[in-house]
Symmetry: C2
Subunit: 82 residues, 2 copies
């Protein structure tokens, strides 16, 4: 079994309205030094497979088809055998 | 200036309906080996301060007041001087 951690980020050329909103909130609360806020997703799950290559392929497909929007997001993942 | 990366996760005792939904989608698509899916947030931003302790304090407050819900989420962050 593998413990998988995926990070999904918007591409840097794509506007991030959620990040902008949080940043404006920060400024209103008086945190003036914060900039360039971008919000992505952090996903954890287990893959119950023994072969590493097969597991990697399953994770890639899961990310491609469900976790990330291929039009505007990129993903990266790490796998740890447990 | 510091580049900051924050990960916000729901506490493990708190149900994660978004993760459950994605996992059901995975099962419907035929990925049967995936379990324990939990979805959190991954946030990047810059803090324009020179003193590390001050910057850390600013980041902690930003996380506490805007990024994480203290009732159900925990956060961790890393800072890198640039």
């Amino acid at each position: 079994m593998y413990k998988v951690t995926v990070i999904v980020k918007r591409r840097s050329t794509i506007l991030d309205p959620q990040g902008k909103a949080v940043e404006q909130g920060a400024k209103l609360l008086g945190y003036e030094n914060i900039s360039g806020t971008r919000i992505g997703k952090y996903i954890e799950f287990d893959v119950d497979m023994e072969n590493e290559t097969d597991a990697e392929e399953e994770v890639k497909q899961f990310c491609d088809k469900l976790l990330a929007n291929p039009n505007i997001e990129d993903f990266e993942f790490t796998m740890e055998k447990v």
